[in-house]
């Protein structure tokens, strides 16, 4: 008998589905054998960005071969809305007004998807065009918002700006990003008896899909069950925006009494579902000769699309993160949520945070170039105090004390291990001798607030059964999208019971097992579901211990669980044997667990308080080369040091760090969303929308988990959330490119490179830099 268990906390356990993934046996929603007579639903998109829907005649559609039903807004028995926060502005099917190009006007259910698509072309659609609002600039000019502007402030930014020794201002455009989960949106709805509905849905938020289906069908929540075993990627794109497709599939199933599947193909998915918000950031900063920020006024305007979706919280998070790791003494940050006639933008890994951090990092870069300092030095000088720092620079612009700041220590360790200073000297030498290719380097830090800023979402539930053979069934409200949540929670339960992880079966999130769940989002999955599962496991363990104590005549404190065995005084038996005895002894071997995140308290009216339980930190050094003749760029080397607290599973955590970084690199380099003047998305498939490929991975990629990591708060085994923060490490790539461009001015001028840094943007920055450097040299000569 081995004296240790396999797959406990801290072990680099494989993803629970690894063997199924590599053999093609993992079942995704589209792989579930279709029930006999299953219909295929096609949502027919609008061709205009903004119009009045005057007439919709579906008679010819209904008469087409294979069609079982064609549904318009008028056919919805309940409410025609799937908005995630009850704003009522997310119609399943267009009703009266067309809000964006690609909005579903009606849905056709047919025997095959080809028939459904062909039938849809027969619809008679009459519209009256309306003037569309497509861009942030247009929306700001028109005062078109999905929610009122919101401000976070401290002190008097205006006075600080006026009094500052130096001051500069600027503007940055930050592009959006498509999730490009490999598995598109998909739901399979199966009617159940008595008006019930069972939906297999690829969603991060089964409860929301359940509630949306119930609302659209006009049924109580208990008539609908939603199940999610796994997603083929999500990244935020299946948080709120899976509900519409679940509802449309359920609508067709409800109408026909047959199973109905709705799967968006790639082009429809990219056209019909929201993306990361693109932002326009404007800043006015006052600073000292030492580079310290004294006053900052910043505007963050996001293109939200036609509806609110989650944009309220997303722009809030951008504003919360407009400090990144830096203390902003007198500051005013205004967030604008622009309503446009484009698809409704939504959650995406980082949830607005990356955009806010990109804005402040641009400000830092401007300051550094203005003062002729290395940007890293300006970053250092603006950091929040370390714990016990004592200089009073430890409270954010929204009133939260930064108690766990390790950014400075982490940056210094990384600068040393990545040989930042030496490499910078080498790059300068290279650039002096290389007229075409230029290299650049940057070190940027990350501080990311962990918790849903919508406080009530910080709750989770779990359900754990022990069967009489000692095997364990684990269920919780969290969903598996590839991030390794299920194996991490299973590790925590294995550790608690002291049994091998292969004795635990993880199971699909199901609204019938754990109700009223929060989305698996905000990086909170293992923090919250892990704690909920732990609570359930502890309940069961206490029951077993009490039973064993009574059975073997010892105190409960003398019962110890160790290495698949249980010792009760002198007696020792296997965990399985104890489970069998407990069952015979009529002990309940099933328990629920619940968790709510402590220490949260934020007053949005005052924009002041503690929205986060803690912060996760990290830092990255990126080195790039650019081609000054074409604007092409290549990331040559990356060094990452990232804080995950005490890792629950270092293999899974490193996977999140690496994958998040590369996804962020794509956002800031090759992934460009382009719309035409009519509001039509032109980049709606991988042929035109370029996420990083294997060859884009830097030749040298080193990453390490911060060895001193330990969460200051009582999280699950003192670990930290890891889903979103690593994406933001990729800001170092944009800044390394900027650095390479700045080399054309001897590092004296900021490149002011907008994102994504496509070859075209880089070449434009190179040309502008050459012109500005020439003009500056001319001025110096004239003086």
């Amino acid at each position: 008998m081995a004296d240790a268990t396999r797959g406990g906390v801290g072990a680099p356990a494989a993803h629970d589905s690894a063997a199924l993934h590599v053999s093609g046996e993992a079942v995704y929603v589209d792989d579930i054998p279709e029930p006999a007579g299953c219909l295929h639903v096609y949502p027919c998109p609008s061709r205009e960005a903004h119009a009045r829907l005057v007439r919709l005649d579906l008679a010819a559609v209904r008469a087409a071969p294979g069609v079982a039903c064609a549904l318009s807004a008028a056919d919805i028995p309940g409410e025609n809305d799937t908005s995630p926060t009850g704003t009522g502005d997310d119609p399943c099917l267009a009703d009266g007004t067309i809000h964006f190009l690609g909005q579903p006007l009606f849905a056709v259910a047919a025997e095959t998807i080809e028939q459904a698509r062909a039938a849809a072309a027969r619809a008679v659609v009459e519209t009256e065009p309306l003037e569309p609002v497509l861009t942030v600039e247009q929306a700001m000019a028109a005062g078109s918002f999905v929610q009122d502007p919101h401000t976070m402030r401290r002190g008097d930014a205006g006075r600080a700006l006026a009094a500052a020794p130096r001051r500069l201002s600027g503007r940055m455009e930050i592009g959006g990003q498509d999730h490009f989960y490999l598995e598109g949106q998909v739901s399979l709805a199966i009617p159940a008896e008595g008006g019930g509905m069972f939906v297999h849905c690829s969603t991060q938020h089964p409860s929301e899909a359940q509630h949306a289906v119930a609302k659209v069908l006009g049924r109580p929540d208990n008539a609908v069950t939603v199940e999610t075993r796994r997603m083929g990627g999500a990244f935020g794109g299946k948080e709120s925006q899976a509900a519409q497709w679940a509802a449309l599939a359920a609508l067709a199933a409800d109408r026909t009494g047959r199973a109905a599947k709705l799967r968006l193909d790639r082009d429809d998915d990219m056209t019909m579902t929201g993306k990361r918000h693109d932002f326009v950031a404007e800043y006015d900063v006052g600073f000292g000769a030492d580079g310290r920020i004294l006053g900052l006024s910043m505007s963050l305007a996001a293109r939200c699309g036609f509806s609110a979706d989650l944009s309220g919280a997303i722009v809030d998070r951008a504003m919360f993160h407009a400090d990144n790791c830096y203390h902003l003494p007198d500051v005013e940050i205004v967030g604008h949520r622009c309503r446009t006639n484009t698809v409704s933008n939504t959650a995406f890994r980082g949830f607005g945070g990356p955009q806010g951090m990109l804005a402040i990092e641009r400000v830092v870069e401007e300051i550094a170039r203005d003062l002729g300092l290395d940007p890293l030095e300006v970053r250092r000088r603006n950091l929040y105090d370390p714990p016990g720092g004592g200089s009073g620079r430890d409270v954010t612009h929204y009133g939260m004390k930064v108690e766990d700041n390790i950014a400075g220590a982490l940056m210094e360790e990384l600068a040393r291990s990545a040989r930042y200073a030496e490499r910078r000297a080498g790059i300068d030498a290279f650039n002096a001798a290389s007229p075409v290719l230029k290299r650049g380097i940057a070190l940027t830090p990350v501080k990311f607030g962990i918790s849903f800023t919508t406080t009530f979402l910080n709750q989770a539930g779990a359900l754990v059964h022990i069967y009489k053979d000692g095997s364990v069934h684990l269920n919780h409200g969290g969903t598996e999208m590839g991030q390794g949540l299920y194996v991490k929670v299973a590790q925590a339960v294995a550790e608690e019971f002291q049994i091998d992880i292969d004795r635990i079966a993880v199971s699909a999130a199901n609204t019938g097992k754990v109700p009223n769940t929060s989305p698996t989002a905000a990086s909170s999955g293992s923090d919250m579901n892990g704690m909920a599962a732990l609570a359930a496991a502890r309940t069961l363990k206490e029951r077993l211990a009490r039973f064993a104590a009574a059975r073997f005549g010892v105190a409960p404190s003398e019962v110890a669980f160790r290495a698949n065995r249980v010792r009760a005084g002198e007696a020792e038996l296997s965990f399985a044997e104890l489970a069998r005895l407990a069952w015979l002894g009529r002990v309940q071997l099933s328990a629920t667990g619940f968790y709510r995140t402590p220490r949260l308290g934020y007053d949005r009216e005052k924009a002041w308080g503690r929205p986060f339980f803690y912060f996760a930190y990290g830092a990255a050094v990126s080195e790039v080369a650019i081609d000054t003749l074409t604007g092409e760029s290549k990331v040559l080397a990356v060094d990452i040091l990232h804080d995950v607290g005490r890792s629950l599973n270092p293999a899974i955590d490193l996977g999140q760090i690496e994958g998040g970084f590369v996804q962020g690199m794509g956002w800031l380099t090759s992934e460009e969303l382009r719309w035409d003047g009519d509001g039509r998305l032109m980049t709606h498939a991988p042929s035109t929308y370029k996420i990083p490929a294997c060859g884009d991975r830097p030749e040298r990629f080193r990453m390490a988990i911060w060895p001193r990591g330990e969460n200051a708060e009582e999280t699950i085994h003192r670990s930290k959330a890891v889903g979103e923060p690593p994406l933001i490490l990729a800001i170092s790539v944009l800044h390394a490119i900027s650095d390479a461009v700045s080399s054309l001015s001897g590092g004296r001028l900021a490149a002011r490179l907008d994102a994504p840094a496509t070859p075209e943007r880089i070449l434009a920055a190179v040309e502008a830099m050459r012109a500005r450097a020439g003009a500056a040299a001319g001025r110096r000569a004239a003086e």
């Binding site: 589905s17 590599v22 792989d31 062909a118 989960y181 490999l182 590839g482 980049t683 991988p686 490929a693």
Partner: protein
């Protein structure tokens, strides 16, 4: 005339007739065979989630594997071949294949949706290597995986798995199963899938002649037929534009069109020869042309698509025409009435219009090799691998005694067709090859081109890059020690 297709699904024989010839292999696998391991990620051959491997008799009598995208492969193209999917990798006893084991052990899957496609690409890479060959290097791995997108891992663990996967299993581990190459070769021979094929279903006719002469006859009888080789372009008409095609004449079963021949200092590439075969023939002799063809697409695309298809579809952003025009390539056009030969550049008349008479098809392209070693060719796009070109410039500048003897400069992405820069060439010809000549050439390019703006690039960027590429060609020919490249063999930052 055979009326059914015959192929192997793993080790099992399949005979199909009366089916829709426009059905994709992906849909057939998932819907008819209920093999759901192969995934749809994009339905346009760009993400690789649907990667499967085709086995067919190789030139040496053995079995040759190539990875392809099942999402844009029409079912009749399987005729006479073996189809391997992720479901065929495990051993008979259920043990994971070494590729699968390496991936699982290196944490190479997260969401798992792209994983079967990666497993198949790695399987093909491993089969290339064979026992005793060293593990693939980083560039070979990147190239093998350029057609597989992963959104979760950042690729590192997959590259690690590729390095660790070892040689292909042999002997008892595969005996008589779908991965037994000798048994497969014997089973393919037993299919007796020779001779011309004609299948029909769902309103579409598919002809697969086996001789070019027969192709001439078919084309004369069906003037509106679509000629199809790799379907890496026409496949998308069906999967993306949802078009129905009435008559298809498939070129892939005509051995004489699949040939690449060298004669008279030129390479003659047949209409059905794949990019991958062309790449092998060009290897080491035309480095920039080879790199351009490598960057046309992934292994999956290169194993299906053809150089001639890239020409015949008349795209203004096809990558092979500019370098081939710069090298002075010619086309052999053939019909029932006979053959004619024209310069490649004369083939492109206007957007969507080529010099192709009714009943005529492009039989081959003839590429002179004399100056191929010195050709400079630059592809500029948002991503290095598997991307569509914004601007592609090809330069064959012959300099003797410091003077430009001749200049052949051709661009893609700058006009409605691949087009030579006549004014630029004239500005360079006869001048000393120096900065002043480059300046004159740069100015002349404005007279040559008025490019468009689209989602790939603006007109201004295209023109600026076209000019700058002339600078690059100048630098590379006059100051070869200056690093100028971020991609391709010998580029900056490798190793």
């Amino acid at each position: 005339m055979r009326r059914e297709i015959r192929f192997l699904l793993g080790a099992e024989e399949r005979r199909l007739s009366g089916f829709d010839p426009l059905a994709t292999v992906l849909n057939w696998l998932r819907r008819e065979e209920r093999l759901a391991g192969t995934k749809e990620g994009c339905a346009e051959g760009d993400c690789g989630a649907c990667t499967v491997v085709l086995g067919e008799p190789g030139p040496d009598g053995g079995l040759r594997y190539r990875p392809v995208n099942a999402c844009i492969l029409f079912l009749p193209a399987l005729d006479g071949k073996q189809l391997l999917t992720v479901e065929h990798l495990k051993a008979a006893d259920g043990a994971l294949h070494p590729v699968q084991r390496a991936m699982a052990e290196r944490h190479a899957s997260q969401c798992g949706f792209c994983t079967p496609g990666f497993a198949m690409s790695l399987f093909a890479l491993q089969a290339d290597g064979g026992p005793g060959r060293p593990p693939a290097d980083r560039q070979a791995i990147d190239d093998a995986l350029a057609g597989n997108l992963c959104r979760c891992t950042g690729y590192g663990p997959i590259v690690a798995a590729a390095r660790a996967m070892g040689p292909p299993p042999a002997g008892a581990a595969v005996a008589d199963g779908p991965l037994d190459r000798a048994a497969t070769a014997a089973r393919l021979a037993a299919l007796d899938a020779g001779g011309p094929l004609a299948v029909e279903g769902a309103g579409t006719r598919w002809f697969a002649p086996t001789e070019a002469g027969a192709l001439c006859g078919l084309l004369a009888g069906h003037p509106g037929a679509v000629l199809l080789a790799g379907a890496t372009d026409a496949g998308l008409w069906v999967t993306k534009q949802h078009r129905r095609l009435e008559t298809i004449i498939y070129l892939g079963a005509i051995p004489e069109l699949r040939r690449i021949r060298e004669a008279g200092g030129a390479l003659e590439i047949g209409a059905a020869a794949t990019y991958e075969d062309a790449l092998a023939a060009l290897d080491g002799r035309a480095p920039d042309l080879a790199e351009t063809i490598r960057r046309i697409g992934s292994r999956q695309i290169r194993g299906a698509g053809t150089v001639v298809g890239n020409i015949a579809n008349g795209s203004p952003i096809g990558d092979s025409p500019p370098p081939l025009i710069a090298l002075g390539a010619t086309l052999a056009l053939r019909s029932a009435a006979g053959r004619r030969e024209i310069p490649l550049e004369a083939f492109f008349l206007d957007y969507g219009r080529q010099d192709l008479r009714p009943g005529e098809f492009v039989e081959s392209v003839r590429v002179p090799l004399a100056r191929a070693a010195g050709l400079r060719c630059y592809k500029v796009s948002k991503r290095f691998d598997q991307d569509i070109t914004a601007v592609l410039g090809a330069f064959d500048i012959e300099v003797a005694d410091g003077t430009v003897r001749s200049a052949r400069v051709c661009f893609g992405g700058m006009a409605a067709i691949p087009k030579r820069a006549a004014a630029c060439e004239a500005a360079l010809a006869g001048r000393r090859w120096d900065r002043a000549a480059v300046e004159a050439g740069r100015r002349a390019l404005e007279r040559d081109f008025a490019p468009i703006s689209d989602h790939r690039a603006s007109a201004g960027y295209r023109l600026a890059v076209a000019r700058n590429l002339l600078d690059k060609a100048f630098l590379e020919t006059t100051a070869p020690d200056i690093p100028t490249r971020l991609a391709g063999p010998g580029s900056h930052g490798h190793g």
